[in-house]
Symmetry: C2
Subunit: 322 residues, 2 copies
């Protein structure tokens, strides 16, 4: 194990400032935030201040960045894998040059993987959108958006129903993005799902991470899933396999509680506000997990849960000790 060395507080501050917008972003999906996290790593790599000139300092700063990104959005698996891939890549690097080169290779590979996945998933989702039908879409997922816009661009006509996704209302971002892309959108509030779902031929959602227990996504996904089953609407989670995590990491999403004032800024005395961001949809409520490797069902997922190494700095036990 590396001997833990305290990172210069000035460096920590510079990194925290880069990461803060990602922690505060409640409107973007996990894949989208991972792309922005790539630029955070690039900034840390390019940082030429005195306190980051030594290879050990640089490595320490990159490790701190990886952990801080995971802490910023603990439910979002791509942020974990991005940092993990980078830390594994630089593990044996001893010079700044080697570190920069291996990091850039790892970041580029990850970005390509995300983009290739999105394109393959879009092609597969095309077949799930029946012409002239109504598709339900929940929350905001760049994967779902690219699938729907791709289908529209390929000449398929359909309408999309989406809901607000309180409290952050990222459903409005989804509605705006789809309408700007020429898709006819019907928008309503979350508790009206039951009024519209019955008219939909399929429902799509993104996801933040996947493990044996199911799929983690924006809170409300479980309600959507239960309603879909009741109304016989197939619900698909659209997601690259970079969303798979180990079972222990999956429940990290429960740490992501936001301030109550984001729900009600003037709650009276005696009223406690609960502002959890994510919930868990078990596989038995999904018609399938649409990935770049195909439409997966529960029995298919086992290999994906363990086909990656976890860098020692990101192991959950290690994280708790430090």
């Amino acid at each position: 194990m590396d001997k833990p060395v305290a990172l210069d507080p000035r460096v920590q501050n510079r990194i925290n400032n880069l990461i803060e917008p990602i922690a505060d972003d409640l409107l973007s999906g996990a894949a989208e935030l991972a792309l922005r996290a790539i630029t955070v790593f690039q900034s840390v790599l390019a940082d030429q201040e005195n306190d980051l000139l030594q290879p050990a300092q640089k490595k320490q700063a990159l490790t701190y960045t990886a952990k801080a990104l995971i802490d910023a959005q603990p439910a979002m698996a791509p942020l974990f894998h991005l940092g993990n891939d980078l830390l594994l890549a630089i593990d044996t690097a001893t010079t700044n040059e080697a570190m920069v080169e291996r990091s850039n290779t790892a970041l580029a590979k990850f970005e390509n993987r995300l983009c290739d996945s999105a394109a393959t998933i879009a092609d597969m989702a095309y077949d799930l959108i029946d012409p002239g039908e109504l598709i339900f879409a929940y929350s905001f997922s760049s994967t779902v958006v690219s699938c729907l816009l791709n289908a529209r661009a390929r000449g398929r006509f359909f309408r999309v129903v989406c809901t607000e996704a309180r409290p952050s209302m990222e459903g409005r971002k989804l509605a705006s993005r789809l309408a700007a892309g020429g898709i006819e959108v019907i928008h309503t509030f979350d508790n009206a799902m039951g009024l519209v779902l019955g008219n939909c031929s399929a429902a799509f959602m993104g996801c933040d991470c996947i493990a044996r227990a199911g799929v983690i996504n924006k809170v409300g996904s479980w309600m959507l899933a239960v309603a879909c089953r009741e109304l016989n609407v197939p619900l698909y989670a659209l997601s690259g396999t970079e969303k798979f995590v180990t079972d222990d990491r999956m429940f990290e999403f429960e740490r992501h509680e936001r301030p109550g004032v984001e729900v009600w800024d003037s709650a009276p005395k005696g009223v406690a506000i609960l502002n959890q961001q994510f919930d868990l949809v078990p596989f038995n409520l999904l018609a399938g997990l649409v990935t770049e490797k195909g439409v997966l069902k529960e029995p298919d997922i086992e290999p994906y849960l363990s086909n990656f190494s976890v860098h020692r700095a990101l192991k959950l036990e290690a994280a708790e000790v430090s």
Copy 2:
């Protein structure tokens, strides 16, 4: 049939002004609005302007008031029954004195019925609140509020979880009212129901009307009901039997669509907003209907659907012809 006579537009205006606040009230339950409708009828009865001095004019004005109240809140059965009871009571009255006397008797009887029902229902609901448990409550219902406050006043300790009930947010009114009455409240947004319901020992909702197909209540009630069944939480609708209507009138609730700007005041071009207020919960999703006549199940409801006459002015066919 009465020959339809046009009502003086000035009288119509005076009545419309009295009813407008009831049409615009999205925060109050049906029983609460019925109590306010009683004062509307009292104002029309007491109106001494020239254009309402003749018995025929007065009767016409009361008929107009009854219809306009139903149109203001077409899902709310007590508004229908209040007007119906009054019109049946004055049907054969030929003098102003007789009309006022019979109206006042009908209004007082209706008010007493509402209040007696609420007290009896509160006693029955007491037994459904287990000590120390968490109760889920949805939307705003004066019946539910009086049940919970009554139980607390009788010394039962419990906590209540409630959600916003978008878009009108009458769940905040519920939270505030309960907290002011000394009940510990946990509040969250509607799509987080799935995160909290599993910890609740029972769920309560009010209702706006009841017929053979089930119970009409604030939109989101169906999602709540499906989630309750999934999590084995018994869901009770608390309601006096003045909520029963004929099957044809039940679907009047679908007429109650509100302006889209109440959901999103700056929706972009290409995004249509759906703002429906009510949905239908079938009886098979309810653990019971808690009324002043006992906790009713589906097989018990038949007699209540037909134990009242409908005044000819309020028959739906007649209303469409006029």
